[in-house]
């Protein structure tokens, strides 16, 4: 396609690692809190008259509109896309899946491509908001290169609606300077320590999916349980734990960094950033299990620049391009072709690419988990207790 480096040196990798855009989840949280998520950043000229594309321009139109999360793409890749196709990439940044869903339900977003998380895809299909993908237009998508669970989550009733972008896990970060040598390996320890020597030092997410899900893991239940009796156990645990919590917030990096908090539920990208800067902060996947998530590329129904949408997704799935993306945003790819181009040090990183025996018990969040009214009410009772 375009001139992409297919090899990245160790030094370059470490430099990139330190260059990680700090706190992408923090920024998501920020966007949520402010409602600024709807505000959009425009990369590349949005005004057609100003775009001087090469001769190839016109085939796929002058632009592709992408709705995505903050700091989730390498801008250099977008420049290369424009150079290759003449189409500019216009980026809209969002704070949450719920916000994206609300926008699409309201209609006429003008988006061509967006990046839903696994547990929202069936909802989008059910609401008839996304179109099945035509794989003949995505030659770079090779389902055989993915672990089946990633490929499967993009399909509903045998039809492919979304292709995997990158994935991550939800575990916890713990400052080992305060554990007194205890090896932290489970969700049981997470909650028990919080009610004991870590009292006043632990944070949980302000997100029912993960906070309730991980409390369910304490008892060995499914992360996705909507069973009344199991939820009641989780609620009792959370209410007991609440007086011992430092905060209920998804913006945990500042408190972990300045030492106010010693332990927090944590997404793997944040875990990597904390561990890189402060080595005594470890990232732990509970051995009972927990969450694994993956973001996908999908095309909304009625996308105004449909051809550009396919061209952009296909371009971003090109292993050389995708490898640059991974180095930029710091979340692992499930694509074997992409991983083949990434440095060993990254693939052996226990935080980003956990060992198989830790990954296996992890569950994808389910659509029903996110939308279950009982879990929402449980979270409200927990927060107001």
């Amino acid at each position: 396609m375009t001139k992409q480096p297919d090899y990245i040196s160790k030094q370059k990798f470490m430099a990139e690692l330190y260059r990680y855009k700090r706190g992408s989840v923090t920024r998501r949280h920020f966007l949520n809190v402010t409602g600024l998520g709807a505000a959009s950043t425009v990369l590349g000229a949005a005004i057609p008259g100003l775009t001087a594309g090469p001769a190839a321009a016109g085939d796929i139109g002058d632009r592709a509109v992408l709705a995505t999360w903050p700091n989730y793409h390498d801008p250099e890749n977008f420049d290369a896309f424009t150079e290759a196709t003449g189409a500019h990439v216009q980026v809209n940044v969002f704070g949450s899946n719920e916000e994206m869903l609300a926008k699409l339900q309201a209609g006429a977003t003008g988006w061509d491509v967006f990046v839903p998380t696994n547990y929202t895809i069936t909802t989008y299909v059910g609401e008839d908001l996304i179109e099945p993908l035509d794989t003949s237009l995505l030659p770079n998508y090779d389902p055989a290169a993915y672990d089946t669970r990633f490929a499967e989550a993009g399909s509903v009733d045998g039809k492919l609606y979304a292709v995997p972008k990158n994935y991550g896990t939800t575990g916890y970060a713990v400052n080992t300077a305060h554990t007194g040598g205890t090896e932290m390996t489970s969700w049981k320890q997470f909650f028990d320590m919080t009610m004991d020597s870590f009292s006043g030092r632990t944070m949980v997410h302000d997100y029912q999916l993960t906070t309730i899900g991980n409390a369910l893991k304490y008892f060995g239940y499914s992360f996705n349980s909507v069973d009344q009796a199991e939820l009641a156990d989780a609620e009792k645990l959370l209410i007991d734990v609440k007086p011992h919590l430092f905060a209920i917030s998804s913006d945990y990096q500042p408190s972990m960094r300045n030492g106010d908090a010693w332990m927090t539920m944590c997404w793997s990208g944040d875990g990597k950033q904390l561990n890189t800067d402060i080595p005594e902060i470890a990232y732990v996947l509970g051995r009972e299990g927990g969450e694994i998530w993956s973001d996908y590329y999908a095309i909304p129904k009625g996308a105004p620049h449909r051809e550009a949408a396919y061209a952009l997704i296909n371009f971003l799935l090109d292993p050389a391009v995708n490898a640059k993306e991974v180095l930029f945003h710091g979340y692992p790819s499930a694509d074997a072709h992409t991983n083949a181009l990434l440095p060993e040090s990254l693939l052996n990183d226990p935080i980003l690419y956990p060992a198989a025996e830790l990954l296996t018990p992890l569950e994808f969040g389910a659509a029903v988990t996110l939308t279950d009214p009982n879990r929402a009410e449980l979270m409200a009772r927990f927060k107001s207790a």
């Binding site: 719920e98 916000e99 905060a247 409200a380 927060k383 107001s384």
Partner: protein, 283 residues
């Protein structure tokens, strides 16, 4: 053009704004509050009182709001009054403008950024570290109701200072001289002249702050660590997390009703309080 048409044309923009931006959206909220939640969230048309019957589920949020809003308003008043008094009565005209600008300056930065700054001031390496350094025992400030109160008073102080400042600035200084000539000491003069005459400013400031506090969600979310839960936070969760628009609308309508009732009672009380003092103005 008749007077009538002209009046109509002049009022039309404000009227259209009022209709489109207030009446229509509030009607939508009212209609939604009688509906049901869709399977994947959102709103499904229905006519049911189920959402209102479910209100006790958010009682804790209402209780917290109805406690902290008056406490926050009173705290802001106690801090703002001496400041406004100082600005209006004690400071020379030359300094007055500069100091007033300094009161406004924080408004040029987003309340979100300023609240984040407090995280670090109240956090373990901020004020508590200083207190410990001086030799007092370590205390936890951040993520407590106290830190929320600090954030609230800080955030809304200018809204309280200005109305009080205006009422004190317009105060006829001859009344103070008269009081003094008649033998009153400074404190009785303050209680009998200055304070009563500044009641309109106090009333306006308190109302501004109180109404905004009833809908506050940002400061508790940031400085309360998510552990201090207001109606505003309940609404944000209902609309943005669990996407239960019907129940969210019912909570919103209830908040508006509670607020209207409180403010009506409050205004009656304040009107009576200042009406008694009408005779105190000099011509």
């Amino acid at each position: 053009m008749t007077q009538r048409t002209r009046n109509f044309l002049l009022l039309a923009p404000a009227g259209a704004w009022f209709l489109l931006m207030l009446v229509v959206p509030l009607s939508v909220v009212l209609v939604f509050s009688f509906g049901e939640r869709g399977a994947a969230g959102g709103y499904v048309p229905a006519f049911t009182l189920e959402q209102y019957a479910n209100l006790p589920a958010r009682w804790a949020a209402f209780r917290n709001t109805l406690f902290l809003a008056p406490v926050g308003t009173l705290s802001a008043l106690l801090i703002a009054y001496p400041l406004a008094y100082f600005l209006a009565v004690r400071v020379s005209a030359k300094w007055k403008m500069l100091l007033l600008v300094l009161v406004i300056v924080p408004f040029w930065t987003s309340i979100l950024i300023r609240s984040y700054a407090w995280i670090f001031l109240l956090g373990g390496k901020g004020i508590p570290a200083l207190i410990e350094f001086i030799g007092f025992p370590a205390i936890r400030l951040i993520n407590t109701p106290f830190s929320v109160l600090v954030g609230i008073v800080y955030g809304y102080l200018p809204l309280m200072v200005f109305p009080i400042f205006v009422s004190l600035d317009r105060l006829d200084k001859r009344l103070l001289e008269a009081s003094s000539d008649l033998g009153a000491k400074p404190w009785p003069t303050f209680l009998q002249i200055t304070l009563p005459l500044s009641i309109p400013g106090i009333a306006t400031g308190c109302m501004l702050v109180f109404i905004l506090l009833m809908g506050e969600y940002l400061i508790p979310a940031i400085l309360g660590g998510g552990k201090v839960f207001f109606v505003g936070n309940a609404l944000v969760d209902l609309f943005l997390q669990s996407r239960n628009w019907a129940f969210g609308s019912a909570v919103a309508v209830t908040l508006i009703v509670v607020m209207l009732a409180t403010v009506t009672v409050y205004m009656r009380f304040m009107a009576r309080l200042s009406a008694n003092r009408d005779d105190v103005s000099l011509i």
